[in-house]
Symmetry: D2
């Protein structure tokens, strides 16, 4: 903002789909609600299709557009590269950006394979030595209810966490006549429910407890193996054809995990990720059961957190529904008065806030690429286990 007196950080965003919209809103909004030590500038949006890109530039509010990401990365005026492309291109873009000295925010999953993720971590660590920052976009960590739960857990409110239930339930594939999309093609998407939404559940559980999923026993399933191909694409939608394409990713994934370290050492978690949970639209549900208490969270009610205190007098025990909109709750002092909730995109603003502050302070933002890699290893172990009769498989 003109007149802020703060240094600028010029941002280039690669990609302009769903995540591009969410990130744009965050770059625009964060400095208007949080006191940042630098002012992010929405400089350049990057994509391949020039016409659609220009429409996105105007819609999302970027100064300029470019179809050449390499040129943008080479632009010395750019400070931050925000990678919102599909996972298959992360490795190339992120490494190039880091090598060019740009701070990088990379959407999750970090990459489509452990090998790619390892290359990215190496690049991030090399860049870090030169003061270049990197961050992977597990945005749900910055839902205030999650942040507050983490505080409570760190304070000992749960004692030893023994059991975990972590489900990410969606239902957009319930209709078996829903069309084939690139997200259901392993070559393009890498993974199905497991990598797309299961990754969030893994990251949150580890973030909340400080523990790691150490070994896993997993199962994958594909309920509908063929879906109608869309005909020639006209605009954003298409016309259904009579041909069908093969679904080559998992529709749903289940896994049991043994955790080590942190506040959940020895705990066992049951995970599920599915796009077939009829009626559940975006239900990321986390329940942690500990020796002294429990917490329960459901993303469909993201402004609420349920907390159980097993040390209260027996007659008074129960799950307390906290409306997580108090100034005492993470990030909430910047928004609205008590009781006025936030929405899906606000955690992206929190992410921008923390990234900008880390860059200006010269510290490392979280989650790091290394954390992204570790999640990738868990995903890989689940797939290996599933391919091996659910045998218990270490994550490293």
């Amino acid at each position: 903002m003109a007149g802020s007196g703060r240094p600028e950080l010029r941002v280039a965003m690669i990609g302009y789909g769903f995540m591009g919209a969410a990130h744009s809103q965050a770059w625009r909004t964060a400095p208007r609600f949080f006191d940042l030590d630098a002012e992010p500038v929405m400089a350049t949006i990057v994509g391949r299709n020039a016409e659609a890109l220009e429409a996105a530039r105007v819609k999302f509010g970027w100064e300029s557009a470019s179809t050449d990401w390499r040129r943008v990365i080479a632009d010395p005026s750019i400070d931050i590269v925000d990678v919102c492309t599909p996972g298959s291109s992360h490795v190339e873009i992120a490494i190039a950006a880091l090598e060019a000295g740009k701070h990088v925010l990379c959407e999750k999953p970090l990459a489509n394979s452990v090998e790619e993720a390892e290359l990215m971590v190496a690049a991030a660590e090399a860049a870090r030595a030169r003061g270049v920052r990197s961050m992977v976009g597990f945005s749900y960590r910055r839902v205030p209810a999650i942040g507050y739960a983490r505080q409570l857990i760190a304070e000992g409110a749960l004692g030893d966490v023994r059991q975990i239930r972590a489900l990410y339930l969606q239902d957009w594939l319930s209709d078996e006549e829903g069309p084939m999309t690139w997200r259901l093609d392993k070559d393009q998407a890498g993974s199905g429910s497991l990598g797309d939404i299961g990754a969030h559940a893994i990251d949150l559980v580890q973030h909340l407890t400080g523990a790691r999923l150490d070994t896993v026993s997993g199962t994958l399933a594909t309920f509908v193996t063929e879906r109608p191909l869309l005909g020639e694409t006209v605009g954003l939608s298409g016309t259904a054809s009579e041909e069908r394409g093969a679904v080559t990713v998992d529709d749903a994934a289940w896994f049991t995990a043994k955790l080590t370290g942190g506040l959940a050492d020895g705990a066992i978690g049951a995970f599920e990720a599915t796009r077939y949970a009829t009626g559940r639209k975006n239900a990321l549900r986390i329940e942690l059961s500990g020796s002294r208490g429990a917490i329960a969270f459901d993303l469909e009610r993201m402004n609420e957190l349920e907390v159980y205190d097993a040390t209260a007098p027996a007659g008074k025990q129960g799950f307390t529904r906290i409306v997580v909109t108090e100034p005492e709750h993470p990030y909430m002092a910047a928004w609205w008065p008590t009781g006025h909730g936030i929405g899906y995109e606000h955690p992206f603003s929190h992410q921008v806030r923390d990234l900008v502050q880390a860059i200006t302070a010269g510290t490392d933002p979280e989650p790091s690429f290394a954390e992204g890699l570790q999640v990738q290893r868990v995903l890989h172990a689940v797939e290996s286990s599933a391919a091996n009769g659910s045998a218990w498989t270490p994550t490293d």
Copy 2:
């Protein structure tokens, strides 16, 4: 946005408190998510304290600032005046702006008295003849769950509405040692819970049903009549002194109303507005019971609507919890995928969208100043009834 190719509408916003923050975010955000026929430009923010104003300009993202609202209204480059000041100044500013040919968005309540509101309506109607638009900011009408409920009701889902429960429950005065503020002083605030939050309940019930509150029987109460005065103000907070100030507005209001017209002709409603509902942070709860069905809404869960169909087979009847995030729901196609909720401030963006589109289309946006006046009359009738032993009092 540069390059949008759309005509611009330059906005001046008077006031920079809580509502100023919410309106700023809406002016900034609406054109990035909705396809508008004009591009609003955040031109000038107006306030009295030059230093605080400049901080607000930077924080909220306006091009320029001015401490002289009359000069801004006289500025021919300004198209829209957005009045976010306390109610006592609405009449003067809004009428001046309308007379200067500016479209006006005025925060609720429209004014602090029926007389003022009548003057404003006259000005709005005169301006309307010259193509100048006016709108009062009952933003909750544009919560998607409310908009969808209205559609259902219009389609006959409730049959004849017979009973209404409309409560607006907050609790920020529960602590009797909470400090005195201008909001508790009748000279400055005009009204307490009744005008501040009860007005929303009145507007929503009338909006949902198309009926009017015709006669009312009301009661007002002040539970804590003196509160500590803050000492010398230092920054945003202050230090408590031992002196106490008199609370001269209502802490809570209750009224019963008979409705006429629309889809609730002959219905009876029970209303409550309070800042003493311990544990309820922002619970605007509306329940409509009709001959064929019912709806229930709670602003603390603003992405949900509960609908009951009394014509379903007896065994299958129940309240259906709709997660109001489908593209079929009002405004939601512009935001995020199914299941990804919105927050408190989004309805302000919907308000901007509808105002801009009305201006460019040359139609009248809703709610009109006349609707604002009518709510004011209801508030006045409640106060009169309360002062008269709860005698039934007509609203006109």
Copy 3:
């Protein structure tokens, strides 16, 4: 039970409708779960229609049946008379029984008028001097969640109660073609929603807080003034005729009340009783808001109580959903393990337990007839206020 070694208390129950079924189950069940100092014996069931009565005797499990209540009351072997008839006959039966030296349990409402109730109180007090006990059947007092709420309130968990919401919502009249019944005829029923279900709300609020409703401002409405008459009765149901009968009682009642005394001195309560709350089947909802906390209860989830502690750290405040099935909760140690809920009829067993224990201990059970009379006075004041333009009306 043979062999219990306890003295017997022989019971006669007058009436065999819905309440007769509930009371029978309680007389049968209470001694099997609670340690009673006397064994109630289900001796005689009394009604007018000999054939239906014998069927009820067998169905409900009574030793003998009689069509002559006066003869039963004169029977020296009877110890307790349980009055389950419609309100219009309470005065005659209860007074006769008390004068005959029988302990009396009388269903609510105590009577159909204040005058009748006063006669009954006089008789109860005269009998009390002779060691004869009397009790009115406000059974919901003995829902464990209510009993526990009362304990919490007495311990100061709410501080000063300032606001009360007490609604009893049913919907069985929503269908305007539902048939005329005696319950809708003032001559037979005395009152509509107000006396039938509103009385419970009044009693519970007073029981929970120890305060009294001191003055009231009320409104009554009848939404459907004529309903189809049933034709000749065949069995339990009938055939609809084309004739219609006049509904002469209130369909719904609303009133605001000022309380005095106890822990709610100076509080204001908003009450509603209705049979038109579409979708609400038996929703007796009580919410008390105090200076230190709040409680919320809904009979549709009778095994739960929500409690808010406003003295907890701000970030941790929220409504705690207590599953009221712990041995620490009133009456629950006698039933099932933690988490195993009870049903509608269990509070009637609690009522039997407390009556039997009071009789054997020579103490007065609660609620007394005097308490029943006081509720009657409140009902009368509401009706008077409604007939007088909602003018504030004292309850005594």
Copy 4:
């Protein structure tokens, strides 16, 4: 009941613990609410400790008591033997009773091993040829919400069931200083959470869908391996000693299952049974996701069922919370009016009703011993899988 004119069925109940109390209440209550074709008579209660037994006889309301179950089974006046003892004695008692020509109701789990259960099935089938009936007590099948869900599923409300979540969550072991009991000793209890509560989840899923769990991949865990031994028992409680005993059963169990047949052919289910789910008291939660709809049930709110209709218009879809208290719902016409819920023990009355009616009609009640055996085989397969690194294991 004297005078019922119905033939009598004389019952002997073996065991007088928690299940003895629940069954006694059911034998006493069922004939008072349901129209039965025979009148059950609570003839004899059987146990080992004569003194405690006599107390139970009086408390639970049986005519006589006996410490010799063989003698009772030999008594020609006894028609039905109700086995409520721990699982280790089921095989001997049930087979003896069947061979003596008594109808047998046997508590779940049917036995402590597959081998025992097979013997019992053989005995039941031999007896069946002689008109002797047998039934295993999976009482939750007869929760009205479950029965109604089953009807809906059979009518096609869910289409093809694809995913199942079935959790039975309790928390009574969360406190690691809770004492050792026989339930935690494998020699006595056979199994821990898996057999005790997981068995209910298995039975319900199979009952609801008509499918069978075909292969399973399981994990068991014991979180607290030693617990304080109680000292000398005094009355019902004891005094803690400093000695500790070894917990030799599972504290928690997780398994994934592939289903075949019925309306869930090809479905995959995720199961969990635990006594460490802090804050969950008796949360048996079943969620079935199908191609056309979904249902969700939680035993902590046993009078409610949530149903999702994926064929409704998109904007109107949502989970409908049905209060399962309508006369249209299974068993509910016999109880209370709409909205008046039932409690934990009522399904036992439904079980008695169905058993008595099957005996008098000469039909086979469900669930049969064969169904109990099949559940046993699933439990065994889960244990085998867990012992074998979670390898997929067939259930037959």
